[in-house]
């Protein structure tokens, strides 16, 4: 009990500090810390899949994304500091946020006992999908359409970022070219950490069918490892006009969609699986989706093209 209270107070404290931080860089550090603490909260609430996703995407990759943004905005930040919103606007924002928070707290506290849940039905039907993890069953079988649309949304976000490139560098290399220091710390880390990370990523993806894990978490780890290698300067980001890159990006959603359409023929509805082949089909979808999401996330963090293609 004391532990829970302490954790809750800590989370709130870090959140408040992140909002009140003076410059963007400090706020990003606060945000990453907040994500880490939130992962702790999820583990305390016995929701390891959510904790995995929070640690990987919510804290890690989003932190990298925000850092890249804050670096790009550094020049504009000094100018923007003089343009703080007025007092009425800020007061209105405070009122709105408070109302939303109070509303959410009320809903949670006024839930009937026991709270309505579909968990027993979800667990009961798992045997038909051949999976052992109910969360994966929800993501890949019961609500597979949502997962398919999520992959498409990620792709759209990537296209949006690419569209920010100035005309001259259209289709070029994202981000700056980092110099590799062959004796340096980063090279050492990249050579040691990245293979381990790739192994862990594949493990987390593969174990997702029977234990907490899954393709999004595994893909995030793979993406983080690719970005790490790019930051160490050992490889350059590929130019975004390369055909193999684009094929890699659309492979996941395309296979997902194709199997979904095939569901009309073999099982009677979009994204329906025949009972005997459910697990095989799910794995066939998951492998390209993992690779595509890994590439998409890595390119999202790499940013819009900044150097002209050769």
């Amino acid at each position: 009990m004391a532990f829970d209270t302490g954790l809750a107070v800590l989370v709130l404290g870090v959140a408040v500090w992140t909002l009140a931080a003076h410059d963007t860089f400090a706020a990003v550090i606060g945000f990453v810390t907040y994500g880490l603490l939130l992962a702790l909260v999820w583990v305390r609430l016995a929701a390891p899949d959510v904790a995995l996703t929070e640690a990987a995407i919510g804290s890690g990759v989003t932190g990298g994304l925000l850092l890249g943004a804050s670096t790009r905005l550094r020049r504009a930040e000094i100018q923007a500091a003089g343009e703080k919103p007025g007092a009425t606007l800020r007061f209105a924002a405070v009122v709105l946020c408070t109302l939303v928070s109070v509303g959410l707290a009320a809903i949670v506290l006024l839930l009937p006992e026991p709270a309505p849940t579909l968990a027993p039905q979800a667990a009961a039907s798992m045997a038909a999908t051949g999976l052992g993890n109910p969360v994966t069953a929800v993501l890949m079988a019961y609500r597979a359409i949502d997962t398919l649309l999520e992959t498409v949304v990620l792709l759209l976000a990537l296209v949006g970022i690419w569209s920010l490139a100035p005309d001259g560098v259209w289709g070029g290399f994202p981000g700056r070219r980092h110099q590799a220091d062959s004796e340096g710390v980063l090279t050492f880390v990249a050579q040691l950490l990245v293979p381990t990370g790739i192994l862990v990523g594949i493990y987390i993806f593969w174990v997702g069918s029977v234990a907490p894990g899954g393709e999004f978490q595994g893909a995030t780890i793979l993406a983080a490892m690719w970005i790490l290698v790019m930051m160490a300067g050992l490889v350059d980001a590929p130019p975004v006009s390369r055909r193999w890159l684009r094929l890699l990006l659309i492979a996941g959603p395309a296979v997902f969609f194709a199997i979904g359409l095939a569901g009309f023929a073999i099982a009677g509805a979009f994204l329906a699986y025949p009972v005997d082949y459910a697990k095989l089909l799910i794995v066939t979808i998951e492998i390209p989706v993992t690779l595509s999401i890994a590439a998409t996330l890595a390119l999202l963090v790499a940013g819009p093209p900044e150097r002209a293609p050769k």
Binding site: H178, V185, F188, L193, T196
Partner: protein, 97 residues
């Protein structure tokens, strides 16, 4: 046997927690960046290492033990990298790249 394992866990985890406290105190009280970094690595190294050691007596199966040790080794690697970079910046006063 179980009692002995539990006792070892308690001792190791307590020692680990002590080193975390030492690391935090060092981070807050030491005068400059280099010495703070030194305190920080003690928490990484010994703090987490002793906690992992204590938990090794409680888990079942070699795979779980392997995962615990991997967590420690990866944290060591990350900590070593960051502290090297911070130390270079502090010492040279310039970007380490």
């Amino acid at each position: 046997m179980n009692l002995a394992f539990n006792g070892l866990t308690v001792v190791a985890v307590s020692a680990g927690a002590f080193f975390f406290m030492a690391g935090t105190v060092g981070l807050l009280r030491f005068p400059d960046a280099l010495s703070r970094v030194h305190a920080l690595t003690k928490a990484d190294n010994l703090g987490l290492g002793l906690v992992v050691l204590g938990l090794l007596f409680q888990v079942e199966g070699p795979f779980a033990a392997l995962k615990l040790i991997s967590v420690w080794l990866l944290t060591l690697l990350a900590g070593a990298t960051v502290t090297q970079l911070i130390a270079r910046t502090a010492r040279l006063g310039t970007s380490p790249f």
